[in-house]
């Protein structure tokens, strides 16, 4: 049986019918064609699928689309605005915070959550905040540097 849901994704309102089993990650990728949200595992371990749900990072493979009814979702596609990259995106580029780029959307989304609660995190706080995100290229040092550099830019 389908459920009618209304979700605001990256500022745009979407309404439609979803099957209860549909995951938010599947809804975003397959129904809305927002394929920036990556799916890297089947066990809610890797964090690649992280999106902001009402401003907080969640793993979208662990939320049913129907549970997001009435919510606001931000995916990596929603970070840039007015043709300008988000500071976290610029920082990942400038600090070489990505290699293959698979984990990057989830890393950036999680970093946005970390910085919104704690604008000047220590290195250890950044590492703790990102512990739910795996990078199989293991480029963690530059990821942490990118978050530090974004924090500095946001503060200035």
């Amino acid at each position: 049986m389908g459920h009618e849901i209304t979700v605001t994704v990256n500022g745009k309102i979407y309404a439609g019918s979803v099957e209860p089993r549909l995951l938010l990650s599947q809804y975003l990728r397959d129904e809305l064609n927002l394929t920036g949200t990556h799916v890297g595992c089947d066990t809610t371990s890797c964090g690649a699928c992280s999106v902001l749900l009402n401003g907080r990072a969640v793993k979208s493979c662990n939320v049913l689309a129907v549970m997001a009814d009435g919510s606001e979702v931000t995916t990596v596609e929603g970070l840039a605005s007015g043709g300008e990259y988000h500071p976290i995106q610029r920082a990942f580029r400038d600090e070489h915070g990505l290699q293959c780029g698979f984990c990057t959307p989830g890393m950036m989304i999680t970093a946005v959550d970390i910085l919104s609660n704690n604008p000047q995190p220590t290195e250890s706080e950044i590492r703790t905040g990102l512990r739910g995100n795996l990078c199989r290229c293991t480029g963690y040092h530059n990821i942490v540097k990118a978050v530090q550099s974004a924090a500095a830019e946001l503060a200035s």
Partner: protein, 297 residues
Amino acid sequence: MHPFEYVAPTSVEGAVKVLGEHGERARPIAGGTDVLVQLRGGRYELDAIVDVKNIPELMQIRNDSDGLEFGAAVACYQLYEDPGISAEYPGIIDAASLIGGIQIQSRAGLGGNLCNAAPSADGIGPLIVYKAVAKITGPNGSREVAVEDFCTAPGRTVLQRGELVVSISVPKPPKGFGAAYERFIPRNEMDIAVAGVASSVQLDSSGHTFEASRIALASVGPTPILCGYEPGSSGYDDPLAGKSVSEDSIAAAGKLARGSASPINDMRGTIEQRRHLVDVLTRRTIGLAVERARAAL
């Protein structure tokens, strides 16, 4: 996944009704960080998922002079981002800020952690040492169960058909009370505890004598273990009451906790390693609990 119905009741009665109708073929879902992983992994099939995050009683938080009561669907971050709760219940916050990572903590809560009844659950021991009680409602009305009596086997609880946990109630800690939780995991990351220990102490006004204590162990038995207590019994053999605060008394408590553990060998650790960890973590958490208790004198 087997197709299921999604129900989002807005009252406790509504949830009890659906859960009663479906029995084992339905489950409440709070954060879903256990349920959805288990469902997708094929651990079980469900005909209905009952989303409890739209029931006001399960989403409320009350922190006042009687203590702390939080709904069973309150997420971890709602506890640790509250400065009052963080200051007054640090032993519970130790666990709330440890479970998963921030994405998990955005959704998951201690109610789900308790009801999932994993032997390795990080949240249950801390609730036990704070003497928390689960408030349950079902088809036959409401009842309260002490958290140490709640889990009966891995993944099994005292909950009967149609029952759900509405809230968890923690009495206000008196002056001179302190508690802490620590776990051991092989990497400083999301993983399942090889062993975990929660300790609480009640010190006298001098801060040098234990008046009461509780030590609860995780991941070293089929259910969380409260040292000195037989589940369902009325007796409690306090490991530290009446002793002075000293390295010796704390070392003795570590030994006692080690003896209370009944761990198994598995891919995460051996029996001997787990017993050793219980000893070390007991001494550490009592030390931290004493520090916190003295700060609260």
